[in-house]
Each structure stands twice: as structure tokens, then as C-alpha cells.
Subunit: 181 residues, 2 copies
DNA sequence: CCTGTGCATTCATCTAGATTAATAAATTCA
DNA sequence: TGAATTTATTAATCTAGATGAATGCACAGG
């Protein structure tokens, strides 16, 4: 069991909230302790910097959970927007209430493992951002999240990788050329 | 209580291991589930890329814990070196044994909070790497870890920020110039 | 069924930061 | 203590990827 839904005792009949593609669920500046479990569909979280440029922090497809742990942990207004890339069904829960769920030791250990895994993923991401070329980061992304590229516009993948859509386009052109020669 | 040592029931009289400055405690390629609690001194973890270049992943001073959660979580040989920037006293423990400690629910929740905090820090780091200039990253680093810069050589700070020592030197020169004009 | 708005791509140009190299200052250690 | 090895700094050049602009496409909404 490494599914947050099970760990947190979600009622499997709990009514998910439906959101249409494009809906912004959370806006930077809000103070919230909500988290979003994706039952169906695809969400993304992102910041907008002072030049108005978007930076995708993460994608969340079925079974994933998405939230701004950073601002929640330090009780600050969130810096992350969260919106729907597809029509989605979401279970919304309050992270504060997790303490009151009276989870078993086993569940807590599982929850723990999940958090550790998240740390592992972020560790990898930091190291990649520091040491790998855009080209390598893209290849790694394709391997790591093979289902995402087909569901997400290029510009968002570029943003996740920390490059411009133009740069990603060039990288892709190079790859095509390589395989057709 | 947000100190791993307390949470994990460390015997406060437990004998720490002493390491001399420069000692490499862990090498890339090893398979291990060890973690290092810094009782005194300063450690760092880093990768070495295929061009032989070091990339500092994190620093750990007193009270911090350092380990390669990524490779441990996925049972792969570690990619991180860990070494001592100062003479250090370290409590070594096996992350696998945490499950057997029979921690109370409260301790597990605390441990949870600690992991969440770590996620928060990494989230911030990823966003900074994607969206902020070297200049801004350096300023943020100084604010966030005011004690580290005095204990760590410039080149390692540069490496942590994802830039070359030369670039950091230039940034610092600019700052000095700004304040002296 | 159009029509407009956003998206992907290509190309020309620009720039933050890398690389290389040379010098001076600080540390290490025999 | 003094030679050898790191480290920090400055400056000249180079480059990955950014920026800006133009073109053709896709498709969302009237």
C-alpha cells in the first residue's frame, strides 16, 4: 500500500469534486492547508515570477497528491497556483486534519515512506537542475514520466524542465533528426 | 520537539563517532541505508558528474541529519558522497531500523513533520533553481543559512548554488561595490 | 462553419554564466 | 618555517539557452 488515499482512510465512496480543464483551484497569495488527491485527470502546480513567467513545479495525474507544502509548513501564503490540465475529479482534504485521523502506526509509517519518496524525487530533480543539460533533463523526464508528455502541452514540459518552449522545440528537432538519419 | 535525535529516541549518551576534516564518510557506488546525525561539526553531500565536477546537494551542521534518501528509497547504490568540512562528531544510524524502534504515534507524527519540512526546503530550492538568477539565489542562501557561509569555502557555496566559483566571486565583487559606493 | 487566440516551430540575435588562463593569497603539512 | 597545494579573484573568450519576431497550425467558442 503506497497510495495516500488508502493511508489516509479516504472513504472510497467519498464524492470527488469535478473541475473543468483550465480551472484554477488554488491561487498564489491564498493561505490554505488544503491538499488535492487526483482521482481522475491531471493537475499542475506552478509559480509566476516577477516577470510574469510561469514555472511548473509539478504535474499530478491519477493517484497523486498535490499541495504547497512549503508555504503550509511555514504558515505563509502560498506561492503556487494549481490548475487543471484536463477535466478532473479531485478529493480535497485539509492537511491539518490528518493529525486527528487517529492513524495507526502502520499507516503513519506508510505515510512516512510516501513523504520519503517525495524527498527522493525532489533530490533527483535538484541534482538534475544543477548538473544536467536541458537535453539530458528532457530525456530523464521522458523516462521517469512516460505518460505525461502525451497529456501536457510542450510549453509546460519546457517550463517544468526550466527552459523555454523554443529551446525544447530545438532539442526535439535534434532527436528526430538523429533517429531519421 | 523537532529534532530527529529526540524523535528517534537516541540515547543522549550514545558515543558519537569522530571524523577529521576532509574525511569521506560515504562514497558514490556504495549500497547503504545509513544516515548521519551531526552532533558537532559540518558535513556536506555532493555528486560528481561525468565531467568530474562536484555538485553540492546539501550542507548539514549541528542538529541536522544527512543521507541519500533517493538511492536508499529505490534500493540503488548511492550517487552522493558525504564528507566532513570540519572535524565532526556524528551519530550513525541505520534508517532501516527506524521501523523497529516502536515509535509512538506522536513521535511518528513529529518525524512526519520533519520530513514535510525537508520537502518544503527542497521545493523552495527547485523553484529558485528554475526561476531565480545566480545573484538572487546567493542572496536567498545568505538569508536562509546565515551561519554556513563563514564555515564553508566559496567554491562549495558556488557549487551549492549551481554556478562556478568565478561567477560567485563576480557576484560578491558587485555586492561589495554596491555597498561602498 | 468561420474566426480568433494560443501553440509549436524556426531563425537571428543577445546574454548570463561557463571556460580558460594567469596571479595572488591562504592553507597544509613535511 | 618554507615549499607545495588549494583557494579566491580578475579578465578574455565562448556557448547553452534566452529573447524577440515571424509563420503555419490546431482547435475552442460564437
Amino acid at each position: 500500500m503506497d497510495n495516500l488515499k488508502d493511508i489516509l482512510n479516504f472513504d472510497s465512496n467519498a464524492k470527488p469534486t469535478s473541475f473543468k480543464k483550465g480551472t484554477i483551484i488554488q491561487r498564489a497569495g491564498e493561505i490554505t492547508s488544503l491538499a488535492y488527491y487526483v482521482k481522475k485527470g491531471l493537475l499542475r502546480s506552478y509559480t509566476i515570477d516577477d516577470k510574469g513567467k510561469e514555472h511548473v513545479f509539478m504535474f499530478a495525474s491519477e493517484g497523486w497528491i498535490i499541495a504547497d507544502l512549503e508555504s503550509q509548513e511555514f504558515n505563509r501564503p502560498t506561492e503556487l497556483f494549481i490548475d487543471c490540465i484536463e477535466n478532473s475529479e479531485i478529493l480535497i482534504f485539509d492537511r491539518k486534519s490528518v493529525v486527528n485521523l487517529n492513524l495507526s502506526n502502520e499507516q503513519l509509517l506508510d505515510y512516512n515512506r510516501l513523504l520519503t519518496r517525495r524527498i527522493a524525487v525532489l533530490q533527483k530533480r535538484v541534482i538534475m537542475l544543477m548538473s544536467a543539460s536541458a537535453q539530458n533533463r528532457y530525456n530523464f523526464f521522458l523516462e521517469m514520466y512516460p505518460d505525461i508528455p502525451n497529456r501536457v502541452p510542450q510549453r509546460m514540459i519546457a517550463s517544468y524542465l526550466g527552459i523555454t518552449p523554443q529551446a525544447l522545440s530545438t532539442i526535439r528537432a535534434k532527436i528526430v533528426k538523429k533517429y531519421s538519419s
